[in-house]
Each structure stands twice: as C-alpha cells, then as structure tokens.
Symmetry: D2
Subunit: 433 residues, 4 copies
C-alpha cells in the first residue's frame, strides 16, 4: 500500500480516533452532559435598537438567514376590526394576523351571532368588541380599533367604508373596491372628507415574488418588457346560483371584477403604466343560471403607452389557474400561481454564459396577507399614504368598465394616456412594510 | 352568415346587453351600492360544535378549501416556556407560535438580559415570566407554564430537561435529544420518574409531505420500498470555530447529530423499521480547525429487516441540500427540500395509463414547527404519549454511536433486530395534531 | 441475536455465497467466457411481416420499449429534392432524413454552386441530381425524385411550387405557404391541375406532444376547452436588415407569418375549429430599419364557434419563447417549447384523488421533421391526401389577412363560420406516418 | 386625446399603413409572388473547407444555432459490422447510425436467418455482408468493414472480440466488457497483439450533459466535490427467468454489471479518480427464480483519494430510475435520467446574487449512441486511442469484483490508490467526436 494512501487513511480516521472513547456502542460518552460554554457564548445575537441581530454562520455558498422578525409589542400594535367573518376572514385573514408584526385584531363585526361568538372566542376578542351590522357605528367609541377592514360582498363596501369613515376609523377594503367607478370615487371622497386613510387590499402588490418581478421590470434587468400573458380562472360549484358572486347587484360583474382584476391590476402594478387601449370579448354559457346576470369568461388585451401589451384571460369555467408569463427582450419570466394566496414561484428563462438556462428563483415570501395588513398598520403608525389607496381601486373600476364596453360594442376602447408612473399609488411598502 | 353563428353572436353579447346600463364608461352603474342580500345570507358558514364550517363552493375539478382553523381560545391553550432564545427560537419557533392553535408562549429563559428583555417585549411576555439560567427552577411556581421547550446546545439538553422535570413541567426538547445514548436514557428516566412527558422535536415527523410519504410507504401504495438515497448537507462559516457546534463536548459530534440525523430519523419514521446493519465512512479536512473535534462528512448505509436499504450522506462542506429519493417497485419519489424548515415538495415518477409521468403533488402544508408544538400541546391536553417521545431520541443516539463505530473500525455494525413497527413511537399525531 | 434476523442475514448472503468462487478479487471467475446460450436463444425477437417484434421484458411499472423502427428498404423509399439549402435545410431537414423511414434525399437545388457541391458530397447526392434555379425544370426527367420540398423565402414558394407541379412532381412546401391567400390559392390550383399533391410543412401537426394534446382536446379528456394563451417570440440580430425576413415583398409580413403563424395554426389544429372573430394590435419600434417594412409585434385574439378563445402573442423583439397554455374545465395544460424544433414537454395540472397535482407527461417524441417528411412519403406511397394540404395554408393566409385588417382598422373582424371540424385537412397521419 | 398618445397611435399604425393594400381581406396582396432577391442573396451560408457556415441571425439574448452538421461523404465513412441484432441493435444502434457523421453500417451478424434478412433489407445491407456466427470469421475478407461492434450477451464478448481481432478488425464492444476482469484483460491483450483498437461502449462518457458535468467537476466550477448519490434501477418481467441476464454464466452478475455499472463508471469518469475503498451490501428476494443465480439489489459506497464519496444503488426490483445528484461546496447538481438513452437534464442549485436559484441548463445533446460510434470512427480515421479503451472495462470489472467481495465478506475492501487522473482512458472525444 502506497505511502500516499496510508496518509489518506490516517486523515480519514483521525477524527474518529479523537472521539473514540465516546463511540463505543453502549459505552460511556466522551461528550458528557453538563459540559457547556458559559451562557453568554451560547446565547448569540446582539440587541440593536429593538431588534436582535445574528451574525451569518454559513459560508457564502448558502443563503444567509433573514434577520429574525422583530414584532411590535402587542400593546403598540394597530388594532383592526374585521367586518364580515366569511370564508376569507376565517381561512386567511384571522390566521394572517398571527403572522403580523404591527397589527392585531381587536374587534369583529358579523350578522350571525353564533358564528360571531365562536370566532371571537377562538381569537380572544372580548364580547364588548363584537358588533352586529346594526350597532356597527358604535365602533366609533372603541379605542382599541384604529382600522376597519371591510371584507363584505362588493356592493356593501361603500356603505361600510363610509360608516367606518364617519366613525373616524381608517379603512382597509377588500378588492374590488366597489361595484362601479362612481361608487368607488364616492368612497375615496368620503374618506378624504373624514380625514381617514383608505387602502384597497391588493395583496399581490405586497407579495414577495410579484414585488421582485416589479423590480426586474422597473430596473430593466431583462431589457424592454414586450408582452405579458395573464390567466386567472377557477370554477364555481354548479349549485352555486345563490352565491352573491352570481348577482350583478352584489358583485358588480362576474369573473372580471372577482379574479380577472388580478391580471389587470398586476399588469399596471408591474409596469406602473396605465393602459391606453383595451379590447375585450365575453362569453357566458347560455341557460346556465349562474351566468344569467354576470359573465363567465372574459378575454381582454391591454395596450400600454410603452407599447407593452398584456393578453388577459379570466373565467369561472376552467380549473383553477393563476399564471402570468412575461416576455422581455432578454428573458422570459413565468410565474405559476402568480395570484394565489401562497405558493408563488418564478422561472426565468435566460441566456447564461454559453447556455440557455431556466432558473427557478427562491425568494423568502412571507404571508402576503400579513404583509398587506402590516403595510396598513405602518401607514397608520407613520402617517403615510397607502401604496394601494382608494384611487387605485377607482382606476381599476374605470378600466373594467372600459373592458365591458369594448366587449359589448365589439370596439376597442381608447383611453386618455396618463403620464408618469404609479399615477394612483402612494408610498411604497418597505421591507419593514 | 349562418343561423348557427348568429345565435352564437347573440349569446355572446347577451350578457353584455343585460348589463349595458352599467357599462358605459363613466356612466351611472347598474350595480348600485346598498343593494345587498340580508346579512344572514351574506355571512355564510355554519357553527358546528366550536367550529365554523363552510360548504364547498367550487366544482370538483378544483381543490376544496381546507376547513378554517379553529384555534383554542387563548386562555385554554397550553403555555410553553422557551429555554434559549438563539437563532432557532427567534427565527422559527416564536413566529411559529403565532400559527399554533393549541399552544402559546408564556415564559422565556435566557442568559443575556438585554436580549431577554427585547424579545419578551416583542412577544408580550410579562417580566415575571422571564428567567435566567440561574433562577430557572423558580418556573415550578409559574402556573402559566405547562411545557418547557429546551432549545439549547445539545450538551445542555440533559440538565434543563431534568431541571424542568423536577419543576413538574412537561418537556419538549430539541433534537438531538442529547450528546450520547447514556445521557438520553437518563433524561427519559428522569421524566418518567417525575411523571412528566418528554417529547423530542423531530419536526419532520409532523411535516405534511413527509407524513404523506409515510402513508404511501406504510400502505404499500407504490409496492415494496427497495431503496432510499438521503442527503443533508450545508456549509458553516469559515470563521465559525467558536460555534458550539464545532466542540465535541457541546455538540456530541459534527454534521451527523446536527443534520445527518434527519436522514437516519426519517428513514426510520417512514418505514417504522429499525436498522439491523450499518456501515459508514467519515471524512474531515485535515488542518481545518472547525473539524478538529467533530466530523465534517459522513456517508452511511442502513439496512433494515425488510432489506430496504438507505444510503445517507451528510456534510458541513457542501452547499445546503436536503434531498431524499425513494425507489419503490412501482414508483420513484423525489423530495427536494425534504428536511428544510419549509418548501417541501414531492415528485412521483410513475406509470400513468399508457405514459410515464412525473407528478408534483400539492399538499396543504402548515408550518411544521407549529404542528410539532401543537402536537405536544395536544398530548398535554389529552394526556397522550407523544409520537416522538424521549425513547425515539435514545434510539437515534444508539444508532449514531453505531455509525461512528462502523466508521472508526472500518467494519459494518450488526444490530439486534427489533420486531414490530414504530417500536419507540407514541400516539400518532392526528389532523388536529 | 434473534432467529428472525439470522434468517434474514442468511437470505442476504445466500446470493453472495452462490457466486463466491467468482468473487475473489483477482481470482478466476466462475462466469467464464464461452458459456452462452445457443444463438437462437440469444437472438430474441420474431419477424412478423417485414418487422421484428420483441416481447416486453420489463414489469408493468416500467414503460415498455416502443417497437423497433422498421424502415423501408432504401430502394423503396420516396425520393425528395430539396429546393434551397439554407439554414433550415442544413441544420434540420437534411439531418432529419437520416431518421426517416420512408423518405430519402435524392436531389438538391441551389443558386450557389460551391455550397451545392459541398452539401451534395456530404449527403452523397450525385452530381447529375444537383440543380441550379435556372435548370431546375430539368428535374422533370429525374426518376429518383418524386417530391420537391420547397425551402425558399416565402415569396418564391409559388414559383417553385408551380414549376415543380409542371415537372410532374409532388410538392412539400415550407410554411407559410406563400405571401398572400391569393398566391396560396393559385398554388393549390396549379397542383390540382397538374394532378400532384401539395402539402404544407406544418411540423407541429406531426409533433408527438401536440398530437397527444389534440387527442385530449378532441376526446374531451379534461372537459370543455375554455381558453388558450399562446406565445411565439424570438429575437433577430440588430444588423439583420438585409435578411429577407425584413422585406415585405419577400416575407409577406414580419413576426406574424414567420412565427405567430404557429399560435394561429396550432389553435386551429388542436380544436379542428375555424375562428369566427379576430381582434389584433400591432407594434413596431419606430426608426428601427428592420421594422420599416414588416411588423415586430402582434397581439391577436381568436374566438371560435365553441366560444373557446385564444390569446396569441408574437414578436421579433423578445427572447425566444414558444409557449402555450390551455385552460380546460378540469385541467390546465402547459407546454413549454410548444413550437420548438425539439424539447417539447407537457405539464397537466389536475385534481388527483384528494390532492392537486401537476403531472409532466413523458411521451416518445420522434424527430418532428422526419415525421412530417415521412407523412408526405406515405401520402405518395398510398395515394392519400396530406393531413396539411395546400388548403390549410390558404386558410391561414386568409386569417392572417384578417389579423392585419383588425390591427389596421382597430376593429375586430367577423368571419363566416365554417361548419364541421378539420375543414381544410386531409387524412390524419397514423403511427406509421 | 393628448398629443403624446396620438403619436403613439400613429406609430402603431404606421406599419399597418405601409402594408395596407395587401391587408384587405380577400384583396390583392402587395407582397406578390415572384418578387425576390437574387438567389445568391437568398442562399446564405459560406463554404469554409468542407463545411457550410452561417452567421448568427439572432440577438445575443437568444442561443445561436449550432453550426450545421458536416457529415463525411458516405464513401469516406468508417464501415461497421454489427454482431448481434437484438433489442439494443434494432431499437437504438441501427437508428443511431442514421445520425452519425463518420460511421456507417456495412455488415450484420446474426444467428437467426429470417431476422437477419429482414433487418438487412431495412438498412440496405447487401446479402454478401450478412454473416452467421459460424461464418463470421470470413468478415476478414470484407473490405467494407473496418470495425466490429459486439452487441452480444456479456459472456460472448470475449470470443467475438478475439475473433474480430484475428480478422484484423477494430472492435467496439458493449459494456460490461466481459464477465470477469481476467476475461477482460485477455480481450485487451488479444487486441493489442493483433494491432487493432478496442473500445468499450460507455455511452455516458460521450453524452453531452455528463460531459458538461465532467467539465464542471474538473474545472472546479462549483468548488470541491464532496459527495454523490447515484441510482440506477429498473424492473424485469416476472416471467423473465429465461433471459440471459438472469444466468450468472452469461451475464457475470445481476443488476450490478448491467446497470449499477453506470453509477460506478460515471463516478470514475466525472472525477477521473479511482476508488480506494469500497463497501457494499447485496439483497435478492429468496425464492424468486430470476434471482437464483444473480443479485437483484446492490448498495455500494465508493471512497476516492480526494475523499469524495459516492453512494450508489442499483436494483432490478424498482421502477426505472437513473438519477445522480452531486453535492459540491458551492452548488448542488441533480441529473434526472442521468443514464438513460435520451432525455438527460441538469439542475444546478446555487447562490445567484442575493437569491438562491435552481437553474435547469439547456444543452444541445446529440444522440449519445451516434456520438460514441463516431468517436470510434474518428479513432480509426485519425489513428487515436479511444477515450474508453478496453483497459477502462478491465478496471470496472476489478471494482465490481471488489464490490461483490465487500458484500460477501461484510468487510470494506481497500484498494491500492492509483495516481493521476484518467489512468485508464485514451484521447478525449472532441466536438468533432
């Protein structure tokens, strides 16, 4: 056996030899309980301001840990009243508050007393902070509530936003802001008059993958953005005729304001531009009572001032799919699950040295609802204008009205160009929301 | 133009026509604010017991929503004291409590007062529930604490488990349970004597994808399990010589007990079997002070009674990778990120009708730390034996000692076969933890 | 050590023991050269007709091998003359003939003598079967040529198709068939008059993944097809102004007839339907000489009689991307590389038992050019009408003219509905082409 | 409408206007047949030496086309005789010759006359170049044959290699070279004595993705290679007892020499190193007649001089899977289908700027069989030593014998270290094979 190899064998066994005493099966361990560093060495992490900071303990080849969350002390957080405790509130929003760092739920509003009681108990909301739709206005007297989060059918958004504003509370309102641009504008006006903030819950604008994609677009990372294909479709139960989503008066439309809105709003958000031309085509299966009042399917194309074009498709008739694909001069970006509650991903097709490659980017993506809610809390705490204020919602309604008009008349609708970027947005959310 | 087509055109436009009044750009909307269903129709969801249940509102082609979480009221939850507020506690565990349904943090223990004060404020822990390592035993008098969660360097696990047991508190202890099987057994004995529960925080055994994979294995969904390749590697900073993980007395070993343990423990968990033969090979770069006391790299092979074989590989020298691949008679299952804190996925290669297909399964995967903690809370609330009790940790230490022995002697180690499945496990976690 | 285990150990070693004599390192092998089955047992496979058939030697969990190719003897194959030996001919078509089973190259036509000589030598084409554009008509006298494959700039397709037809040769013509529907129709008429077949080289209609997708659509495997998003974009060199593709007279258009045609043609092919409404929008960067005559970018939407809608996007301004995504009632199908020369794939998102899953289907996909060429050869051998005859090309030109008109006028174009499926197609290609 | 927008509209329509005359539906096209560039401008591409070269016509964001193949004229190619026309020959090798650039099939050898006749006709092999096993030696007189490609059961490799060498023909022999290292060495000696080349058909060493991976390893692109997990498993039909693969005397072993060999050989090929320590474990299901003589499953671990370790797993009991995963200091590389006939891919997990990313690399991957065969042809044409000569096969047999010994004795086998890289390899294949 060569010298070289024997050296290798020795190296290989060296570590084993050091620990030999502790390695015999069933024997006494070298490593003994009680041997430890003094606590100050064990408890790593320094306090800087009100945060704990750790050093990176990994080599550069590995992702460093994100800094640990530094939540605001419970008593300093902004209190939210949730108006409406349906599916979205129970499945997503109430759990999301558990991941918030600046917000907390302090009141609930509901029309069904037993559900209200059950949910209030689950989340520790005291009885005196539970309201019905009738006595909702008494919320004005509740100092634990600074923001009212309206999670009701679309046609009710205006009333509860206005009542909240009159009660002196800021408003976070689910999308779409309302059922028409006129109503939406009235809500904006009411909040302005009352001196309260109005933010629309466009969660995608607070979602980490879409925000990164926005950076790529704005910074020109992949060159000119040429086109986008956006899909937001899902099914509704066949016996779902009683759902408010199928009633025009309640919903303001069908798949378009409910889910197609994500395609529209995200195209605007990513580029910061506003469309100048819209064409559209609508289809609803005849004789299906679910689509007697509202549309099932809309295809629409947006043309923007930079001549970027977005092909959008939404429907209640196809299995759930929320996909967007962007074609840049120098890259293709696909985002499966682009508009889902979670599970976003991003695939970037690009020239990589002498090869083509498709890279799946891994981004730390916190709960998007928590991010959105914390942004509203931050705006209250720091008196900032929300990134997605009521005006953002008004503009989407104007554009949806143009989509319906284009489909109805069979004529593309031309829109007055709007100069500048982010014409309807407020202060961007930062890393600290 | 054919009759058929004219009908189609009419259908196409019908919806648009219905809503025409509301569609004119800038006009008055047909859908008017204030038109809404009575609140009882809006607020869907029925209360059953202490839960709210919704009907499925999607067609069968789409996944139904999971039932909304039904957290225990805060005052009914099990209180946990966190011993050690290092990286894992701050980055993962404290946030995970925000997603728990049965557990809450009620006390903190730390040796660094300013960090303790900062973190206690962030999470609303009252000053009287903050302990140092010195006065930790006073926790016996704290009725808000039912479980002590030990999150310290390995060599300290025994002491704090024993002190907690003496204080009459149940113990949830991070993995590995200790630094040797002898110490581990002493911990089990101490808890038994004190009449408190001891659970080891094997989070993977509570992680949704791995649990589903366990079902596949146990139910024989893909036929006999023939082999498994498991990898758990990551890097450590080059200047990391002061970390306790590099000190044998503190850590009990290097990459093996820290991360290689996942390969070992998961192979046991998935099959329920215990290995009968172990071979192993170790390597550490000579002259690297980080690996003067503990090993960098271990390759080991486990053979189980069913003759299923697991090839495992762990190292501190390679970029982060936590992968397992299982070869069944009728399928291949790959799990990228198998042992990560989040982001698990599962790819199943299988014959599908007349084609081969690889299916990526989408599973609702809650925060695995929250699931683990809630399981401990459930065991306390329902007086059940934890699924991963101290004995599970003792067995892993015995096997790791066999791995070290095999590497040191250059001889495979034969182990007494253990009959039956899940010899060291308690009551399985259910869907409600 | 328990009895059970000892038995296991014995089983485990049994095989080893059997072969012991042959296993000693460097020793004499038990398995000795010269020991073999009689040739009839070695040479498996039976001759059935003119094919060799093997039994499946794998378990049902694995894909059986496809039957081995059974190429026609060289002298029985159909001889093709390639007119134009530019990029496509050299990079794709000539190599593809090496994978054909019924076709062979027997003549070449080119205007550059040194290139003609070089390529003829490489592929063993005799000098007397090499033609210039001037003496091309002498091909009439070449009995080795049955089909002329026209691979020239679009505006030259008509002339060479007509000359080939006059020479009594069948014609396979690259897509687009020509530069206008009028020219296209003239080509169809000329071939009909001459009694020769005319096929357009729509390779996607012969590509395995797209053909499987067609089956899914036609058989309703995933329910109603609701929408489709199709993208075909690629870049052109900045100094590419001299390319014929940028000259309207030569190309008939820009990205639309060159690559956007794939979106249009594939939507028609998959459904068998013909569009009834087309809207479109065009953009070309001003002052870019490459786009002085032809368009850079086109977005167009097709509506079909079944109310299926296809959003299509094509451009010369974005990095190569050839993607289609289909939204069905019960599944989502994504096809990266849908229109590429190779590398197609198919991902099917679908409910799978109690989970959502995305399945990547693995299909045996032969060279699509070879399949296309062999289909033409089969049509000649069996006197069948090509699946993609000249009429298929005429229809695409009519539709592209409608797209240009819609973009130019800003008005959607309504088209006379065409009853029935596959109105312009011939006999489907079978598994044997 | 603002000025800016009107300008945009004009730009948008400008292109349309230019082409207006040709755009009216059904009208006369502006682009008219017959308008074309002179042929010399159409026929792009320059002749350089005996190759045609095209300029890149795409922007740098897109992959440039590979240069078109420049096959040797048929009469200059190296002629191969195929000995054995079983599954591999018919399904893979004969078709692969259609994609070769330097090789051609000129003779066939078989023991079943009707199959021989059928296949000879399909591939145009003249009757006088068809041989039986009896009259095979007459091939010495056939000037069209320069290489004999042995595609027979393993135990027959030696005889036919020796007979071919005696006939003065070079030999390309399927893997494994034989059934023992002794036989393998005899083959090497026989060819050396006869002055003919001997190459073993290790196709993976000629496969594009594995070759690129070799570059990454050798150039240290991702830092030190720490570990590798390699799997090669597949099933065999249950009634497959009569297959020669289940007879030790014919096959020399079970899954190990047939498919496990790929894991072993590729680990050696990628690093260029030779293992110094081997441990192994074997299992065969008792009472399964298929595994009465040969093993079903082998797990083995290789340790190399650089302390890189490879965990390998092979079995006839699991669904087809051919996977390798490499853990480097700075990246993880996964290769699904690593050892398949086609469909290789490569996923590289790596730090990318501020993110983690997993990149799927797209590499032009020609038919690996054609590459392998063309390499042998090149070695004949240029009198070079094959990259995978007989010695490469001898070494694999020695290592497989060590694997069997380790499994049988339950003791790792230590091997004499071999200095230098690629100790048993010849001249590397170049891009031109």
């Amino acid at each position: 056996m060569s010298e070289q190899f024997r050296i290798n064998r020795r190296d290989m066994l060296r570590i084993g030899s050091v620990g030999a005493a502790g390695m015999v099966l069933g024997g006494s361990a070298l490593a003994q309980s009680g041997e430890y560093l003094p606590p100050t060495e064990v408890d790593t992490g320094k306090v800087v301001g009100n945060k704990v900071i750790f050093e990176n303990w990994r080599a550069p080849a590995d992702a460093p840990s994100a800094p640990p969350p530094a939540p605001l002390p419970p008593e300093e957080r902004v209190g939210f009243a949730l108006v409406g405790i349906g599916r979205l509130s129970l499945e997503e929003l109430l759990p999301a508050f558990g991941e918030c760092k600046k917000a907390k739920v302090t009141a609930l509003v509901s029309g069904t007393p037993d559900k209200l009681k059950t949910v209030a108990e689950q989340y520790g909301i005291p009885e005196q902070s539970c309201y019905s739709y009738d006595n909702f206005d008494q919320i004005a007297d509740n100092p634990d509530v600074q923001v009212v989060y309206v999670v009701l059918p679309n046609s009710m958004h205006r009333e509860y936003t206005e009542r909240a504003a009159r009660a002196g509370k800021h408003v976070l309102c689910e999308k779409p802001i309302s059922v028409s641009s006129a109503d939406a504008q009235a809500m904006v006006d009411a909040c302005a008059q009352a001196g309260v903030k109005l933010m629309i819950a466009y969660r995608i604008q607070y979602e980490a993958y879409n925000r990164r994609l926005q950076q790529f677009v704005r910074q020109g990372t992949f060159g000119r953005l040429v086109g986008m294909s956006a899909v937001n479709v899902q099914t509704v139960a066949e016996n779902g005729t009683q759902q408010w989503r199928h009633k025009r008066a309640m919903a303001g439309g069908g798949s378009l304001p409910d889910i197609g809105l994500y395609c529209l709003n995200t195209a605007r958000f990513l580029t910061g531009e506003e469309p100048v031309e819209i064409s559209a085509s609508i289809y609803s299966p005849p004789d299906d009572p679910r689509f007697a009042e509202v549309e099932e399917t809309v295809s629409f194309t947006l043309r923007f001032p930079s001549n970027f074009m977005a092909n959008c498709f939404t429907s209640y008739g196809a299995r759930d799919d929320k996909y967007q694909r962007l074609n840049f001069a120098e890259a293709t970006v696909g985002m499966p699950n682009a508009y889902k509650y979670e599970g976003q991903s991003m695939l970037i097709g690009q020239r990589q040295g002498e090869n083509d490659g498709e890279t799946e980017l891994v981004i730390q993506a916190p709960n998007q609802f928590s991010e959105e809610i914390d942004h509203m809390a931050t705006c209250v705490l720091e008196d900032r204008r929300p990134y997605t204020p009521g005006e953002e919602g008004v503009q989407d309604h104007k554009l949806m009205e143009a989509i319906y008009q284009a489909a109805q008349t069979g004529q593309p609708v031309q829109l007055e160009p709007i100069l500048g970027l982010d014409a309807f947005r407020g202060d961007p959310a930062t890393e600290n929301s």
